[in-house]
Symmetry: C2
Subunit: 234 residues, 2 copies
Amino acid sequence: MLVARTAKVAVNSMPELAIFRHFSPALQNALESVQCITYYPAGAVLFVESQPSRGVFFLSRGRIKLSVCARDGKTLILRVVQPGDALGVGAAVSGRTYEATAETLEPCEISFIRPSDLLRLMSLYNEFAMRMAEYLSQEYNSTCRELRSLMLSESASERLARLLVGWLDTNGDTKHRGQMKLTLTHEEIAQMIGTSRETVTRLLTEFRKKHFVQRHGSTIVVCNRGALESLITA
Amino acid sequence: MLVARTAKVAVNSMPELAIFRHFSPALQNALESVQCITYYPAGAVLFVESQPSRGVFFLSRGRIKLSVCARDGKTLILRVVQPGDALGVGAAVSGRTYEATAETLEPCEISFIRPSDLLRLMSLYNEFAMRMAEYLSQEYNSTCRELRSLMLSESASERLARLLVGWLDTNGDTKHRGQMKLTLTHEEIAQMIGTSRETVTRLLTEFRKKHFVQRHGSTIVVCNRGALESLITA
DNA sequence: AGGCCATGGTGATCAAGGTCACACAGTAGT
DNA sequence: ACTACTGTGTGACCTTGATCACCATGGCCT
């Protein structure tokens, strides 16, 4: 039912995708004709790891969790995809399987494009091929940074500090400085920084005791950003 | 002097780059006119992390170590680049800085292309843009796999087993099954699997005691591949 | 030969954090 | 109100692997 409600909000036109802007009118029309706008509820799985490419997803509203997992169920969250971003481009372009699993965290509005259409439009419109290449390189970049920050910091507290500071820059409340909504559970935070749920709980209480952060309900306030940053070495 | 020796071997023509094959003659000519074939000795640094893109490197001979490093000098080797592969495409396409440091492990023959030429040829020849996009997606894929295998395996022995098995598939001697040359030092192996040099030494001797592997000089023989694979869970 | 340096091998020590085991709070469903 | 479930908080314990310290080996240079 959340799907239906979301659908009513923006049913009339092509989603406002930053990635589609600056394209020539011809390409925009072509994209509009092949895309399929879909709505997903929270917790929906768009695709799973090692499944052959079913399509490319351009996210216009909502947030999506991108993760890989081990056989024993342990999970590592690669990143949380924000509106305007794309999913599954790599798998479609290289004709391989998805390298991660995508699951919606909230109700999402998504523009879906089949791999064959993506490749055809990339061949037809060079600007589109260039844009996708640029996108892929950004994705590669961010994965490298992820890898570095996860592997080259020896303590879990450093990784948590890095995560919090990173969130401040992207999700931070502009009005109330240092304030932001904690939208993930401790379990999910643990999966982002590669540690256990208990450790995240312990570290957050430790940070609170040291007055690095405060908590008001599900809102977290970073009082001492400098202290957090000083925990980061890499 | 190693540089000069290598140069004599293949000075006459364009390097045999798999990545360049299947291109139209026009594109091949264009590439030939903008590329610059260079030779590096072992231990040369092509570029360093966070330096603005100076160019793209297509490796035709030799091997290159791609790594990121922390402030305290700790290093993580992302991968060892093999002949036929490219370096720095992401940085050139997105106009960002290099995300890693590239250092030759052996004397190398490299075809160098400036970022501006790369972008120009990508705009001019759609097949080239498509090929670069495909390349980027493969690079992204392999980085994801790296991230997964590093983070989702709790023990260092598992990561080492995974590395050895992976090497068997790519570098394994086809004649003598299970046999391969160990070309990296324990220190470098440690940097590949995110552990300390001592741990690698200990694990290798443990594997030898359990008769998973044997050693003859710098050649390592995997006698019990199944046992190594059974250490891998993720 | 005699050093020198990079690499490999091994023991002792120790802290970080994974795991297990509960207790407790909030929220939804009936 | 009474469960039932999900998320959070905390103690006890114990394994893994980092680190330090030291020695052995085997080129390579002068």
